[in-house]
């Protein structure tokens, strides 16, 4: 995978710990990383915490990036690993579960939609979209972690199969068959809820 000139220049500046270069990377990839983490853990404040940690890791370990993969896939792999670790950590603390379920993330904020784009949506439309969001997030959370990751990468982040293979280290066939099972499981769950 050959990086573009601008990407190589940016990387060189990152390796020199140039703060402006780091800011640019956060601006370029912040939303993608945040959304991936948010959909994996299903909780907004946890997601903010993990996504910040991903970029701190990037800043610390940019020297370990050797350019065998795309920079973006390398970054998203860090995000996926951090998310998995946090999910494992949270599942070992059963007393804290109420924190996970008590606050649907869409109730807390609705960035990137509606008012930010210059028009205020009608309250019932906001509510409806918040309900859809919560329902979908609950459905995603029922999936096994590795299935969830594939679904998030492909159907929410809209990455290519090539990129997903790079991020997960899985062969193409495994990605596709697991993704299919994840999609069908999600569909079954949602149809059950709709009935």
């Amino acid at each position: 995978m050959t990086a573009s000139l601008s990407e190589r220049l940016l990387l060189a500046r990152l390796r020199n710990r140039e703060e402006a270069a780091f800011n640019e990377v956060v601006r370029l990839h912040g939303d993608k990383v945040f959304n991936l983490v948010l959909r994996m853990v299903g909780n907004r404040s946890e997601a903010e915490d993990i996504a910040q940690e991903v970029f701190v890791t990037l800043f610390k370990s940019i020297d370990t990036f050797r350019g065998e993969s795309q920079f973006t896939t390398w970054l998203l792999r860090i995000a996926a690993n951090h998310s998995k670790n946090r999910i494992k950590y949270l599942s070992r603390r059963p007393t804290d579960r109420e924190g996970l379920d008590a606050m649907p993330e869409s109730v807390l904020a609705d960035h990137g939609r509606g008012p930010m784009h210059g028009h205020v949506r009608a309250p019932d439309a906001v509510l409806e979209s918040a309900q859809v969001d919560d329902m979908m997030q609950k459905a995603i959370s029922t999936l096994a972690e590795d299935h969830r990751l594939l679904l998030v990468l492909r159907d929410i982040e809209e990455l290519s199969y090539e990129e997903i293979c790079e991020i997960t280290g899985l062969p193409d066939g495994t990605v596709k068959s697991r993704l299919h099972r994840a999609r069908m499981a999600l569909k079954e769950y949602l149809e059950d809820k709709r009935e």
């Binding site: 703060e19 912040g30 903010e48 904020a109 960035h111 990137g112 929410i156 999609r183």
Partner: protein, 125 residues
């Protein structure tokens, strides 16, 4: 109905590839042929399409405080080696004293030009 049950299974197994546009032409034709005749598989495909459609709307942006929060984290954890300039500078500029000095300077300027000027410019012979 003469269609064997596992035909439905096989058709449904290829739904993802079908929706992703990854089926070879002959397989695609077989799937479509089956769909035309099978309401059950058609329904499942529609449901899957609807599910994938809803997933597409789940994109959220990072909060506006995202970048400064990260900068602060790195600043703290690097013991002030990185992302410190701005905070340090900001903390070091004594805005209160600056504004006080400005007021004093303006007052002095006013007094000098209005009252002190005639005496201070008149030279003593």
């Amino acid at each position: 109905m003469t269609t064997p049950t596992d035909t439905h299974g096989r058709v449904q197994d290829s739904f993802s590839a079908y929706l992703d546009g990854e089926l070879a032409a002959p397989d695609k034709a077989l799937v479509e042929q089956h769909l035309a005749a099978c309401l059950q598989c058609r329904t499942h495909l529609e449901q899957l399409r609807r599910t994938l459609g809803s997933l597409g709307s789940l994109k959220r942006k990072a909060p506006p405080t995202f970048l400064p929060d990260i900068q602060r984290q790195i600043f703290t954890r690097s013991s002030g080696r990185f992302f410190g300039q701005r905070w340090r500078l900001f903390g070091k500029i004594p805005f209160e004293w600056l504004s006080m000095a400005m007021i004093v300077a303006m007052l002095a300027y006013y007094i000098l030009t209005q009252h002190g000027a005639p005496t201070s410019v008149s030279p003593t012979p």
